[in-house]
Each structure stands twice: as C-alpha cells, then as structure tokens.
Amino acid sequence: MRVNPNIAPDLLNNLNQIELQQQQAEIQLSSGRRVNMPSDDPAAATADVENQAEQSSTDQYLQNTSSLEGLLQTADSTLSSVVTSLNQAVSLGTQGANGDLSASDRQSIVQQVQGIQSSILQLANVSYQGSYIFGGTATTAPPYALDATQADGVVYNGNTGTNNVQIADGRSIQTNVPGSQIFQGAGGDIFGALQQLVTALQSGNTTNIGTATTQVSTALNYLSDQRVFYGNAINQLNSNQSFLQQEQVNLQSEDNTLVGANMAQVATNLAQTQTAQSAALAALAKVIPESLLDYLK
C-alpha cells in the first residue's frame, strides 16, 4: 500500500496539539483553576457563578450578623441596667413601707426613687450608632420625654414598628422591640409603677406604698420577660455566625471541586507534554531528510 510520503504536516499538527496542551497546563498551574473560560467546562462555570454569588452573600450575612450583635448587645445590657435599677426601687419601696420611718427618711427614699426614674428614662433613650433603639422604627429622636400631664409622668414619641434583617438565605431576625412594649406593656408599666411608688411614698400611706412596690416588682418581672427576646436573638446570631462560617468553608471547597485545578495532576500533565514535545521534535528532525537518497552516497 502506498502511504502518504509527506508526513511533516501530521507531525506538525501533533506538535501543535502538544503545545496547546502544554499551554493549557501552564494556564491551569498559574491560575490554580481548571476552568478559566466558560468553554473549559460550561456546566462548572455556570455553577461557579451561583457559588460565587452565594459566597458573596454569605460574607454579607456575616457582616450583618456582627453589626447586629453590637446593636442587640447594647439593648440587652441597657435592659440589664434597668433591671438593676428596678431591683433597687423594689427594695426602696419595701423600706418605705415600714411605718416606723421618719418623714425625712421617707423623703430621702422618694429622692432615690426619683433618681431611679430619671436614670431609667435615660436608659430608655439610649442610642446605638446615632439611632435610638427603643423607639420602634422612629429612631431619629429620643422615644421618651418627661411629661407631667401624663399619669406615667412620661410621654412615648416612638412607634410600634419593628425591623427585620436577613441573616441567611430565607432566614431573618427581628432586631428590636418597641419601647412602648418594653417599658409600658400590658403586663407591666415601669414608668407608671415608679410614678405611683413616688406618689405613695410622698403620701406616706404604707398600704399604698406596698401596693405600688408590688406593681414595680410585677413590672420588673415583665421586663425580664421582654429581655429574653434580646438574649434569644443574640444566641441566634451566635449560632448563625458559626453556621455561616461553616457555610463559607463548604462553598469554598465546593468551588475548588468545581473549578479548581488538581495541581499535582496538572504538574504531571505538564511534564508529560514536555516529554511528548521532545519526542515529537526529535521525530520531526529525523524524519524529514530520511530517504533512499541517503543510502545511495
């Protein structure tokens, strides 16, 4: 059978193929990625788009989580101070209910309770990064102001709005409880109870003082219930953070499986193409001049 005498184009074509493979291996080695263009593996490149979007969102959820933690912790520690103050008020009320107290002693108790009243007012007006945290969604002005015309002695300028922030795909968390619910809720009115305690202490009526003290203590229990919301939210954020961090690791490892290059394999491939190249070059150099003429000299 007659064969194609001109094998140089075939050899050249092989050489081109080898050089193409070599180039691909070099690109993979230097980028660390197996998929550098969508056509390298269209399915993986497409999945990689989703993966990158997911990674980027996860980063954002983590940022949200840590900035919310600051807010919620501020609220929680503020309420903890309110609890301490209310405990003081209860013990002051119990002292004041003692019929043996002199008027001046009782007067000093009144002053102490009034001090507690104003410090709780300040705590209710606490702000985080310029926003008042107990005013519902009315965050630009202090929610509580003194108002002698009100039975409670204060007026609430906030609203009953709540905010939710997304902290993971399909998972969001409520980030505030309106001040009206915390400090003047149906289960216990802190400002009202304190105001009644002051009035009762001023009147010196021990029965009334006892009743008012009980009311303060009821309000304290109610506040503790409200505080649970923040405690829960902080716990939720902490567990969410670990979840997101694990998610990040998962996504990165998935990404690596999708588009990452297996470096050991790529390096081996590169070495193989180099060997193949030398072989092809040697063949090319040897084959071209070889003919019958060489034996006729």
């Binding site: 001109n6 490149a45 009315a138 003919s291």
Partner: protein, 458 residues
C-alpha cells in the same frame, strides 16, 4: 525483421522515452514540497509490433502521455471538510471573544449584581445610615456601567466580525475570478488533448482556499469547475465568474448575489461561521442582556415604589431604562441623593421594612423566567456551551481533514523513495539504450568491413 538501422532507430526512441520519463521524475522531485502538487507519471507503452510471417517483432517503446495522479472525489471531500473546519474555527474565534465577557465570576456583571444586593442587605442593619445608602447608589452605578460595558463590548465584537465579512467577500471574488480564468485554460488544453494537470492543481489549491472562506458546491464539467454557493448562487460557470456584492443594512454588511440578498444562506467557511456569530449568537446575547437590564431595573423600581425614602416620601425609581433593543446601554441610575433610597415601609427613618421588597428581586424570577443571578449564569452557560461546541467541531474536523489529506497524499503525494527508484531504473534504461546504439554502431562497422579485403599481413 528490422535492419540494423531499424534497431538504431528503436534505441533512439528508447532514449527519447527514457529522457521524457526522467524529465517527469525530475519534475516530481522538484515539486515534492509544492502545496497542492499532484505527482505525475510517465506512461510508457509498446509500439505496434511488426509481423513477418509467423514472427512478431516488437517495435520499441514510446512515451504515450504524462498523467497526473489525482482523486477528484477525495479533493471535493477535502473541500467540504475544509468548509466545516473554517466555519467552526471562525465561530470559535468570535465566540472566544464573546465568552471572555462572562468568564470572570469575581468581577463584572455577575459579581456586581451580587454586590448591589449585598449593599441593600447591609443597609437593612442601619437603614438611616447615609454612608450605607451611598454604598447602595455606588453599587447601582457599578452595575449600570457593567451593563453598558457588556453591551458596548458585544457591539465592538460584532462590528469587528462585520468588517471581516466585507474583506472575506472581496477575497472570494478575487478567487472566483482566478478560477474562472484557469477554467478557460483547462478548456483550451483539453481541446488540444493536453493533460491539464498543472492547471488543475492550481485550481484545486484555489478551491481549497475558497472553501476556507465559504461553503461552495463544486461540480466538474467539461468547461472545468462549476462553482455555486451552498444556497445555489452562481460563482463560477466555465470561464465566467460572478462577483458577490455587499450592501449595508442597519449597519451590517449584507452579501448579495446578482442583486439578491443571500446573507442568510451561508453556513460553512469562515464567512458562514462569522455570519453565524454576527447574526445569531451576538444578537441573541444582546437581546438577553437588554431584556435582563430592563426587567431588572423595572423590578427594582417597582420595589422602590412600595416604600418610602429617608424624607418620608414615596420611593422614586432608582434606575432609568428604556425597553427593547439597547436597554442595557440606556440603563442609568436616576437618583443621586442617597436619602432617596426607599428602605422604609412606614415612612419613618428607622424602618427597613421595604428592604425585603428590594431584596426579593434577587431571588424572584424576572418576567423572562429566571432570577437575576440565574439569568447571568444562563449567559455564562450559553456562551460557554456554544464555544466549547465550536471548539469540539474544530477538533473533529481537523482530525478528519488530516485523515483526508493523508489519504490524498498517499495517492497524489510525491514519494522521494519512489522517484529515486524510478530515477535509477530510467538511468539504467538510458545507459542500456545508449549501449545498444554503440553496439549497433560496431555491428555496422563490421558489416562495412565485410566487403573490404582482408588486411595484408604486416
């Protein structure tokens, strides 16, 4: 029975024939690396013998013809495969540029889309923060400029391909003109009974070049090659060529044959591949991007309208966009005041209630059927798949083209070994024939001396 003169004459014929064969061999060796050269063979045959009684005497050799060894079917097959390969290669080259626009998942349209939603998500933690609102506006501007950039890059690629259409058409015209001329020469030679091998080699080379440019049907007739486009438009008939014309329609070069627009008929060759990317792939991607830009902007604007800005007013459109072709280029950020982002659902500054509506755009399907991230991912998948298909086609047709060329080479290629063998045997034949001339000369002298008296003894 031929006399001595007859033998001498036969030897001379043999010298002539062998010299002719040597000439063919030399020509083959000289053209061993000429592209498209088909080897030639000296066809030697016996002269008609002379019969005398019951004896038959051979009358020597004659060089009957010089024949070029070719396989016309194989050559046409190569031309077809070349059209496919060039088309796939042209598509691959165009698609490479297109897919590069969607190749980096960490920046560009895809990444900035996610960044935009991240900035909104971040705003939900502190909805009255001006810096965070500004971040949303900046992300929106990045996104708008990505849409512009993608569309303008696609336009640039498209107009680059468009330029090459015009260039390819003028190359086609120049080739068909040359083929028509050669057809004329082939016709003349065939009339004179000559072997048109050399001219056919040239024509085959030109047809192969033509096949790289466009898809053609080649039919061999008595007037040489008759060539039409795959759509049936005449390019070459006999010694006449028909030039393709071009005209510009909507900024795109269209190809006309004798006044008729045949732009849509090209499939193969560089022209077919280029037109495929210019007229099918890029307009498809542009359409997707335009629909995407306009539907995305509308969804965000609708979400804005459901809420209130930092001043307590109803949300205004964040983006301004026109529907239809060019939507991506028309997309701009309509707001410059960060306070105007409608994060609030109740008009208070601290509310982030409307952010849920803005964020919902990220996960809800646009009217076109997929959510924004998926829409972008589909573009990556679409361009990636098209490119990898074109690449696979290039590889497959290169392999079969190599095989066909090998096959043709095994028929028409010049083998130096074979030619050297021929050279040696013709050389020996020539030497032998020359020897016969010498021998007959000696015989003739002997005959002449037969009549003379024997030389006297010294």
């Amino acid at each position: 029975m031929p006399g001595l003169t007859g033998i001498m004459y036969m030897a001379q014929q043999s010298l002539d024939a062998t010299q002719g064969a040597l000439d063919v061999t030399t020509n083959n060796i000289s053209n061993a690396s000429t592209p498209g050269y088909s080897r030639e063979q000296a066809v030697l045959s016996e002269n008609t013998p002379t019969e005398e009684g019951n004896l038959t005497f051979g009358n020597g050799v004659v060089l009957e013809q010089v024949q070029s060894i070719r396989d016309q079917m194989l050559e046409l097959r190569i031309s077809e495969e070349t059209q496919q390969q060039s088309s796939a290669q042209a598509q691959y080259n165009g698609l490479q540029q297109v897919q590069a626009l969607f190749s980096d998942p960490t920046q560009g349209l895809g990444a900035d889309l996610t960044s935009f939603f991240n900035s909104i998500n971040q705003l939900s933690t502190d909805p009255s923060s001006i810096p965070q609102r500004q971040a949303v506006l900046t992300a929106a501007q990045n996104l708008a400029s990505d849409f512009h950039q993608t569309e303008s890059n696609l336009d640039t690629i498209q107009s680059g391909l468009n330029q090459s259409v015009g260039q390819t058409v003028s190359q086609i015209n120049s080739l068909t003109q040359q083929i028509a001329q050669l057809n004329g020469q082939v016709g003349e030679m065939q009339k004179l009974g000559q072997d048109p091998g050399v001219t056919l080699d040239q024509e085959n080379q030109l047809i192969e070049q033509l096949s790289q440019l466009t898809d053609v049907n080649v039919i061999q007739t008595e007037q040489g090659f008759s060539i039409t486009t795959a759509g049936g438009a005449d390019l070459v008939t006999g010694n006449q060529s028909f030039a393709l014309q071009t005209s510009t329609v909507n900024g795109m070069t269209h190809v006309l044959s004798q006044g008729q627009d045949i732009t849509g008929n090209f499939q193969g060759g560089a022209l077919g591949g280029t037109l495929q990317v210019r007229d099918q792939v890029i307009p498809g991607v542009l359409n997707t991007i335009d629909t995407f830009a306009s539907q995305f902007a509308t969804s965000i604007n609708n979400a804005q309208a459901q809420g209130f800005d930092l001043n307590g007013n109803a949300g205004q459109p964040l983006f301004s966009v026109t529907a239809g072709a060019g939507a991506a280029s028309s997309l701009t950020v309509a707001l410059s005041d960060p306070k105007l982002i409608a994060a609030s659902s109740d008009g208070t500054a601290g509310s982030n209630g409307n952010i849920a509506n803005l964020m919902a755009v990220q996960t809800q399907a646009l009217p076109a059927g997929a959510d924004p991230t998926d829409t972008y991912a589909n573009l990556v998948s679409q361009t990636g798949n098209l490119t990898s298909q074109a690449q696979a086609e290039v590889n497959a047709s290169t392999v079969s083209l190599n095989q066909l060329n090998d096959q043709l080479g095994s028929i028409s290629g010049v083998s130096i070994n074979e030619e050297t063998t021929n050279l040696l045997s013709y050389q020996r034949a020539y030497e032998a024939a020359a020897r016969i001339v010498t021998t007959v000369d000696e015989l003739t002298q002997s005959v002449l001396q037969m009549g003379a008296s024997a030389p006297a003894a010294p």
